[in-house]
Amino acid sequence: MAKLTLPPEEWVRSGHSACPGCAPALALRFLLKGLGPRTIVSIPACCWTVIATPYPTTALGVAMLDTPIESTGASISGLRAAADALGLSDLNVVGVAGDGGTADIGLQSLSGMLERRTNAIYLMYDNEAYMNTGVQRSGATPWHAWTTTTPVGPRARGKAEPKKDIMGIVLAHRPVYAATVNPSFPEDFLAKVEKARDLVGPRFFQAITPCPPGWRYDSSETVEVGSLATETGLFPLYEVEEGRLRITRRYGRLKPVREYLQKQGRFGHLTDPEIDAIQSRVTARWEELLRSERTSAEGRAQPPATDQAPTAAR
């Protein structure tokens, strides 16, 4: 019998209302396996608030606060202040929000939480559109992807703009820890969660979470589609700790992005020149990432000194 590579305890219960093949459901399952029961999760309007709460039941084995969509960051600053006032020093305070609620609607409150150096973990599960309301484009929707508000036709080729760089935005706030995670790589996911759990200060995760109805592929292919996102270099896995960047899944040779794109109906309209254009952006970004890793190892990408210690948590 193969040894379990993940903790056996489950903090996401069956009976939840996620669609079949839901990667955000896996992302929370892995996150909570790493954090354990001394955790409170704040969730705004997003798929997960529906997944967790088929009223009057709850799918989470930990406490959950339901918060307005723009307020996840503010709510975890408040939860941490309350926990500190009550002397609950061992409590993991966690915000979990979708890409729309993080990179668009909740951006100011995420920025505020990072800037206040709130001692909390924030996970954005990135299904690359407003999936809970039926696939409307968000800032995190990738270039050329079809959504109901970025249609495909003679004069429209899906989303005209590239994906918003949420990791760049977060890293500009110099959190103590930030990482990309992918439910298709659970051991890498868990290792990062366990590392973040034991740090103090603002910590951020971006999880790529494929969505069968929104990305238009069969629900059985969630793990494969997620794997290809990383193996093609579209969603590289890395972590940034105290300004030092480390790639956690390294590939000598990336798979062509075509393999990832052609699995999904939302990219079914792409022409060869469009796929080539995406490929050259992905290749350039991967090389940029390799360069960042080298320069940060030499200390050149360390954040400049600020007037206060960057790890000081309030």
């Binding site: 079949p20 529906v50 039941t57 309301t133 059985s220």
Partner: protein
Amino acid sequence: MMEIRFWGRGGQGAVLAAELLAQAAFLDGKVPQSFPFFGVERRGAPVTAYARVSDRPIEVRTSIATPDVVVVLEHGLLATMPTTDGLREGGTVLVNARADDPGLVAPPSARLATVDADRIALELGLGTAATPIVNTAVLGALVRVTGVVSPIALDRAIERVVPARPSENLAACHAGYAGVLVRTTEVPVPTPRPSPRAPPLPEGPLATIPSDVLRTASWRTRRPEIRLERCTRCNFCWKFCPDTAIALDALGFPQLIAEHCKGCGICAAVCPPKTIAMVAEGSEGP
């Protein structure tokens, strides 16, 4: 002005049905309006959409509370949702059902019409057995019983708007037009629902019942069949199940928790020795 309210389940095409009707009305030179109810969207969840067709500009922008016509794409919704609430005197209820399906009820003054759109869609290969895409067949029936738009305009709208398989959808529309049955209902009136009043909020946590009391097995149309003799106990199926519906026994062999499995098929896809097969729900086990 004619006001039409569509009820369906996510994936059946209720929202597109309202839009197609509006497009057809536009081609007829009328003034249309169509929009969905904004709410949680899930495959299988109840969906509402609205359409208005008028000869004059439409000033009203609200959802439709007193429809002339109610269109129900899945007849189970008649019993579980307030589908016919506010239906006008002499209005029409059009249901995707066989005429002899039990539980077909409509308010006393209403006309009840049925069309077996599931059968039409399946015969034409539209959608899957679990989720037939029935909107175009139902629209054909709607045009026949209400005359809200002309049949030729509906054909043109389907050709222009339907994203895939226009010829099958046209055929479905024509079969719905030909196959709709109308009866004036004498069946019992559903008891009016009392307006729901929210109970006072409790002190303390709002939801404390573990969700695993809910059975999600009815969501699935296929189920995994695990052949243990070829299992290597790698536990990938356990690891990647989004519904925590696979347990490991003391020896490390996987066991399906059938009452919670939604049939997504991830376990079969990730199984290295391919010892899990997805089989149609309802077929014989090993």
